[in-house]
Structures are given as structure tokens and as C-alpha cells.
Symmetry: C2
Subunit: 523 residues, 2 copies
């Protein structure tokens, strides 16, 4: 047994009684003067955050304000117009959900909507998926489903679950730019399903999108049921408290005021420029300490609660997309970031705690404890002991076992999983990520690295079009020959044609024993 | 655009026509003589694998054979007894599933079983969860549900989905040792639900467990519907082709012969000691190259297919529990392992490809391509282009974008997602993990590091019992005072009592402003 760390635990234990939240950083082994040493950078981070909340153009690349904190405190918005936009949108969301629940807004065939099909990807779905899984219940007025990719079989699979319920399904299409291809494809396939079922899609369809985006115009032109705005001062990964997250939450019957209020309460606590009382800056500092400010350690997220299992997926985007940057604010190459993974305890103990305890020490863990075990009656699995006591025991036991082997951990505790605490958790990490960005001097609010892959994908699709035109009849030609014809790389040609041959009866493929000897042809 | 790598692609491209599988390691930048340099270690790995498959005691710590390869090729088992055990068990599984489907085995109230509740954790659920998600369909004869933790609210949530369907639910309890507490707790809570619903649990219950384990004896004594064996030469993380995975698969109506045959086909290909024709050793060598044989790079798994999303969770256990080891076979401290994470493409592109492309270069990616887009009719989202063409485009585009920024990747391709190819994928990684263990000279078949956390958890629960006996009435005592009384660490006492106070009305807590000042008492 390690010697007692009771004193260190108390020294650094931070509780917010108004939120039912605590943060324990005592098992991170930073030296006594670490917080002092970091004071100058912390000062910078506090100032940057203050400027951001005040409406500065904190995303300099895109020349935009960054305003997710205003969503739960509209009175702090930098001008009255923004304040009114938030208040009006939230009021409209609540009214819309109430009208759907009451049957005032109803499907063309049937009494009430029973399902929501949310179509989006990335920041448009990760928040709603996390919130739905964390707070949803079997008796919700509407059940949520997702199309979050451009996988045709994935679409088929979701639609197979619906059957005749399509007639009672509200479709919410979410895309800030309105031009995201995965979302567009999901929408087009969904429209076709509705048509095939003899249903009037526009009477089932709602858009959440940037004002005057491609999707906004499409929805307007086609007379969709409703449109809700995504503000340009909100990024996808911090959009869960905009219409993106609030509309699906309200439709599910969740208390969105509590959700916003939990975030606002955490914001109030973590807005204060006092390091030792500020959970968000302490989190950011621990990340900095753990990875030497260079992301040298992965962040393993271990909530001991089934309902919080998707939190790590949510954080993958929030943390990695915000912090994974090539250059700092001065243009220096820095290759920043922190890798995030994890599912839930104690389940993950049976998957990879073996490596965490004994293996490569390239991580720090974040345990998330939920004090309240269940909403139903206490149930003992043996005399005096509940399943929840075991869950707590495994959390504490694993934290100790890691500490014994010099593996560091943070422990967060919340009173229960509800709209308020989930809002608070999200707000905590949003601010911690913002602070960390400032500590390592990067822009946490853009994502320049995602364009290259999209551009390359677009080139692949353009190549596919050219290839389909150029493809000869049997015996066909090799990838190399076709590459010369269409002016492309032979490897790209090869893969495009192999894929087409597997899916399009018009395209044939004769296997050689090597890619260079394979022939492709029109059938 | 990077210069063409068409030649390098062809040089290293490996296809198995009989499986519809290919492996592309051309975007890993190992030097030309790397494979040669590794030849002596590869030789050792081939020999170790041959010995293992021949029945050697390949888990030296536990003095056990390691026999998962025999499950799909019983004729290779080291003796006839094992061969017969496998054949008999598989035949019994198929008969049992057929009897359930036909209604010959039926619930006490109702015609046929419609649901399976699988209770297990770690190796007892990760395989069935992956297989169910990858191969399941909406019209399966039985629908699978899981209890895979000891979270009371998690139990409540699953049971809330059942409602009256509990009467048509078959319960499969899976635990090799038969003593896993999470699984025991799930079982006890489930028994109570059946009792409350007036259902005879034993007529719904099936055990998959080690012969004569605690669970085996419990099931036998109580006259459960059936028992299926877990062999002591099978580890949890490689048990998906034993009754652990086959029984749930068969109940869902999946073709378990195809599943086994896919694995057998991959085994035949990867058993051959020819490096350039052996996908499993090539994978292991790439992992070694990427992380310098010390796990310096995380393994990011990106299947571009919704159905394969849980593969990374499955691999977390297979890879991290197998390879995350403190000591090598000679007892030297090595802290080995490879961290694994990932969900699915192109969805993850919108979450963290920003970091993969621009951020900390602490990973290598594994793309998994599925050639066949969908089982239903081709559907174009724009002229000549399908959702699947986009999916393929995003995969190729992201692979290119990563390569442009010196981020390395492996690409695996399978023809379609079906029982055969999923079996083959699992077999590939099982053998790659075995090879890698030999390359870095560790025991890949034990998990000594998981005991410490369980032991510490047991101590926490024992402490809880002592504290409940010692707790005084109001005004109560502090954690420190109680710690002195019961002989425990004050921090453990504090957390146990905070948790009890949140869940047990018999335990009270008065908040001080510091943990040391909080008081705990009987109410």
C-alpha cells in the first residue's frame, strides 16, 4: 500500500457545492511549485478567455467571434442582437418541441411523431448522441436515431429499424455549412425512402443550419416544416448548446433549461481567475503537466457509468480537433494535440487496464465518478452491498492500482447524471480546452487540417467520373494505361475501379495476379 | 500531390483471393531492408506460433495451452479429447439454437424466445457485441441485449427496454472463472427481475463457463436450461469462436460455420512461414516498425463501414491486454503495449482527423475498406455517384492527406461484411498479436496486471463493511477519526462514506468546507 496521500488529496481537492461537482488532482504528481511556475501562462490564458467571452475575434483565421459561452448566458453576449438571437431560438425550440409533443405539429399520416431521425456528422451528431445516450429514457416522447456517415449499408440498417414507423418520423438535418457531403447524402437517401413510402418529406423535415446556407435555401424553397439557425460564431464541436443539441434534446423531452443552467453554473465557477478554485484551468494545467505541454501522454477517459460511455467520443472531437494543430499562433511548427480514448468503467478494466497498469506509460487517466447509483430502489446483491458499491470499489481500486505503478490520474465526481450535470461537464471541458489552447499558444477554434482529405476525396470522385467515360470494352485496360489516359495516379485509378467493379454492374474487372496486371472494362 | 507510389504499392500489396482480402503496407515508410533485418526475430515468432498451435504450454505463468486456433480447425488440436470437445460443443450450440428458433425450447409463458440478454464483461461481451453489431439484422430471430458492467442504473436502463418482453427473454450468463463480480451482480439483479415478474428464471437461464466453476455449479444445482463449456486453454480475449461468441451468434441466426471457416481460411494463409505472403506477420512487423518495438505510436483503427465500428473496442482488449506487459519473458522491465483507439470513417474525419493530419504524430492509422457498399439496390445521390463512392473517396482522400503530412497508414480491404470476413479479420489480428508478442519477447497470453485493481476494490468493499459497523450516531466523526478506528487510509474512508451517503438512507453526511472537516454518521 502506498503511504497515505490524504493531505495531498485535501490540499488540491476542489468542490463546487452548487453543482455537486468535485475535482481531485492529487494523483497527478506535479511538483509543489508547478502552479506558481505556470502563473504567467495562466495569466495569458485568463486574459485570452476574457477577450473571447467579450466578443473578440478569437478565431483569427476565419475572422470570427467564438461564442458558445453566450448560449447559456445570453446576457453576456457582446451585443443585443446576438442576445436576442439566442433567446428567440431557444424559445422557438421549446415551442416547436411542445407542439410536436402535443400533436399540434403532426405527421401527414398518423397522430403524433414518435421518432426523430437526426442526419448529420461530427459536431452535428456527437453532442446529440452523447446527450441522448446520457439522458435518454425508454419512455421518451420521441426516440432518436442517427445517420452520421455516408455508408449505404449504414443507411439501410437504420431504415430497417423503422419499418412502418417512417410515417411517424421527424427528420432533423443538421449542417452548419449546409454542404457537408455525408449529410447531404443521408438527406437524399432519406427523401427517397419517404417518397417510396408515399410520404410528403417536406412535412417531416426540419433544418438546423447556417442562415442562407445551401441547406437553408433548400429547406426554404421546399417548404420544410421548420428551420433553426446555426450562428457563425459557434463552431461545430461546441454547438451542443445551440439548436444542434437543444432541438433533439427538447424533442426527447429533456429539460434544456437545466442543461443550459448546469453549463452556466460551471461557467460562473470557472470564469473566475483564481487558479486553485478554477476546475477548468486546473484541468488544462494537468494536461499540460502530464504531456509536457506537447501532448506526450494520451488522455484516457474512464467514466464509471454506462450513461457516460459516449463522453470520450464527444471529447475526442472537442479536444483533438481543438488542440491538434500544426502551427502555433506565431506560425511556428509545433504539431500539438492530445489523443483521447476510453469507454467506461469498470468494463474497460476487463479490456485494457492490463496495459494501463503494466504497459507503456504513455497516458494519464481521468476517472469520472457518479455519486448517485440509480434512480430506483436500493438493491443488495449480497448482504449490505449493492452493485453500485462494487462500481465505486472498482473505480477506487483501479485508481489506487494505477497510482501504485506510477500511472497518474485525475478524478472528477458528479452527484448524478442529469441534464444539469451533463451541461456542467461539457462546459468544464469546453473551457479547459480553451485554456489549454492558450497555454500552448495555439488557435483552438479552427480546423485547417480537415480540408486536405476532403479535397483529395473530391479529386477521387472527379477521377471516377473521368474513368467511367474512358473505360473501354473487354478485354479492357490496366490501371496504369488508364492513368495515363485520364492524367491521374495509377494507384488512385486502381482503387476507384476496384471499388466500382464491386458495386456497379456496368464496370468489370479481370484479376491478374498483381494490381498492375488487372484489367478493367465496361460490361 | 506526392509523387506516385504505384510501384511501392504493388511491391508490397498482398491479396488473398480465396478470402477476398488484401493488405497494403506501402504507406508505412520502412526502409527496403527492414523485412530482412527482422528475419531472425520473425523466425522466432514463426517457431513460437508453431509450438503454440502444436499444444505447447504457451501461457507459462498459468501453465496452460493456448488453443483458440483449434476452435476453427479441430483436427489440429493436440489430442482427440480436445478435438471432440470442440466438435461436440459446436454441435450442441447449433442444436440448441435450432431448438430455440423452432420453439422446441420455449419460455414458460409464451410461444418462443424473442430476446437474448447476455450478461458478461470483457472477453465475455466484447466479441459478441462486435459480432452482433457487425452481422446482426433487424429481422434476426432473437434480439441481443447486454449487461456488461456493474452499474445499477445501467441495469435499470436495459430492463426498461424489455417491459413485458422479459417473458420471452433467454438469459446467457458468460464467465470463464464463474466468479467475475460484475457478471455475478448482473445475474443476481436479473434473477430478481424475473422473480418480480413471476417468471421461473432457471427455465430462461443458460451458462457459458469453465467446467465446475462457481457459475457452473450454480447453474447445475438450480437446473438451468443449459450449460456450455469454456475450455481452460481459451483466454477471454480470444474466446469469440468458443461458445462465448458462437452461442449468441447462433441464437441471432448467424452462420457460425461461415464465421469459423473465415477464420480457418485466414489461419491457413497466415500459418505459412513466408513473410511476404503472410498478412499477420506483416501486420505485426508494421506495428513493430511504427513504434520501434516499444509501442511508441498509437494504433488508430478506421473502418469505413458502420458495421465495423466496434472492431476498435474489440481490438483494444485483444491488443492492449495481450501486449501491455511490464516484463519480458526473461523478467526484464519493458513496459510494452500499443494503445488502440478509433471508431469509423468517414465519421471520425469530422472528429479528429484534424489532429491526425496536423497534430502530434504519435500514431499510425489502419484503414479498413469494405468493397461491397450495400446489399440493396444501387442508389445514386447525384448523377453516376453513390453514397458508397463518397465513402470510398473519403477513405482514399484521407489516406492521401495523411501520407502527404508524413503520417503512416496500413490499409486492409475486405470484399464485404459477412460472417466469413469478420471471422477472417478476427483471426488475422489474433495471429498478428501473437506474432508481435514473440517479436518483442513477451507473454501475450496472461494478464497479471488486472489483479491489483480487483484486490484493491475488494479491500474497499471490506472497508465499507467495517465502516458501517463502526459509524456513530450524530454528530458523527470525520474520515480521519474513522480511519484510525478501522485501520484504513483516511482518503479511502472518505470516498466510501461519501458514496454511501449518496445512496443509503442509513448513512448521513454533514459537509464541512474541507474533506477533513466533513462528518459521517448513522441516521
Amino acid at each position: 500500500m502506498a503511504s497515505s496521500k490524504w493531505q495531498r488529496f485535501q490540499d488540491y481537492f476542489l468542490q463546487y457545492d452548487d453543482i455537486g461537482f468535485s475535482l481531485d488532482i492529487s494523483r497527478m504528481r506535479f511538483r509543489a511549485n508547478f502552479l506558481e511556475e505556470m502563473a504567467p501562462r495562466v495569466e495569458v490564458a485568463f486574459r485570452a478567455m476574457q477577450a473571447l467571452e467579450g466578443g473578440a475575434l478569437s478565431n483569427p483565421d476565419e475572422n470570427r467571434m467564438v461564442g458558445h459561452y453566450w448560449l447559456r448566458a445570453p446576457e453576456l453576449a457582446p451585443n443585443e442582437q446576438i442576445e436576442q438571437q439566442i433567446l428567440e431560438t431557444n424559445a422557438r425550440i421549446k415551442q416547436f418541441a411542445a407542439d410536436v409533443h402535443s400533436g399540434k405539429i403532426r405527421p401527414t399520416k398518423g397522430e403524433t411523431f414518435r421518432h426523430v431521425l437526426l442526419i448529420g456528422i461530427g459536431g452535428s451528431t456527437l453532442g446529440p448522441q452523447f446527450v441522448c445516450d446520457a439522458l435518454g429514457s425508454a419512455d421518451a416522447p420521441l426516440k432518436l436515431h442517427f445517420l452520421d456517415n455516408t455508408d449505404p449499408d449504414g443507411f439501410d440498417r437504420v431504415f430497417a429499424q423503422f419499418g412502418t414507423a417512417l410515417a411517424a418520423t421527424l427528420v432533423v438535418v443538421i449542417s452548419k455549412s449546409g454542404g457537408t457531403k455525408e449529410t447531404r447524402n443521408g438527406m437524399v437517401e432519406t427523401e427517397a425512402r419517404f417518397k417510396a413510402a408515399g410520404l410528403d418529406f417536406r412535412m417531416h423535415a426540419v433544418a438546423v443550419t447556417g442562415i442562407d446556407s445551401e441547406l437553408d435555401r433548400h429547406a426554404h424553397k421546399n417548404g420544410w416544416l421548420a428551420r433553426f439557425p446555426m450562428f457563425d460564431w459557434i463552431g461545430g464541436r461546441t454547438s451542443v448548446m445551440s439548436a444542434v443539441g437543444l432541438l433533439p434534446a427538447a424533442l426527447q423531452g429533456l429539460d434544456i433549461d437545466e442543461f443550459l443552467e448546469g453549463a452556466a453554473a460551471m461557467d460562473r465557477q470557472t470564469r473566475r481567475p483564481e487558479v486553485r478554485r478554477n476546475a477548468a484551468i486546473l484541468l488544462a494545467l494537468m494536461w499540460h503537466y502530464a504531456g509536457n505541454g506537447r501532448g506526450e501522454k494520451d488522455m484516457v477517459i474512464l467514466p464509471y457509468k454506462d450513461r457516460l460511455m459516449l463522453f470520450s467520443r464527444y471529447l475526442q472531437q472537442l479536444v483533438m480537433e481543438s488542440l491538434g494543430k500544426e502551427r502555433d499562433l506565431d506560425g511556428n511548427l509545433v504539431h500539438q494535440g492530445i489523443a483521447v480514448y476510453g469507454n467506461k468503467g469498470s468494463t474497460d478494466q476487463h479490456a485494457y487496464v492490463q496495459q494501463l497498469r503494466d504497459g507503456v506509460p504513455n497516458f494519464f487517466a481521468t476517472f469520472i465518478e457518479v455519486q448517485k447509483d440509480r434512480a430506483t430502489e436500493r438493491f443488495e446483491v449480497e448482504e449490505g452491498v449493492t452493485s453500485g458499491d462494487y462500481l465505486q470499489g472498482f473505480l477506487r481500486g483501479t485508481r489506487t492500482a494505477l497510482d501504485q505503478n506510477d500511472r497518474e490520474s485525475i478524478t472528477i465526481s458528479i452527484a448524478a447524471v442529469n441534464a444539469f450535470t451533463v451541461g456542467a461537464l461539457i462546459a468544464l471541458y469546453e473551457r479547459a480546452v480553451g485554456f489549454y489552447g492558450a497555454l500552448v499558444h495555439i488557435n483552438a477554434y479552427h480546423q485547417p487540417g480537415v480540408e486536405a482529405g476532403k479535397k483529395a476525396a473530391t479529386e477521387i470522385l472527379a477521377l471516377q467520373r473521368r474513368l467511367k467515360q474512358q473505360l473501354p470494352a473487354r478485354p479492357g485496360r490496366s490501371a496504369e494505361e488508364l492513368a495515363a489516359t485520364v492524367g491521374a495516379d495509377a494507384e488512385d485509378v486502381y482503387h476507384v475501379l476496384r471499388h466500382l467493379a464491386a458495386n456497379d454492374v456496368a464496370i468489370g474487372w479481370a484479376s491478374g495476379s498483381l494490381p498492375g496486371r488487372d484489367k478493367f472494362f465496361r460490361t
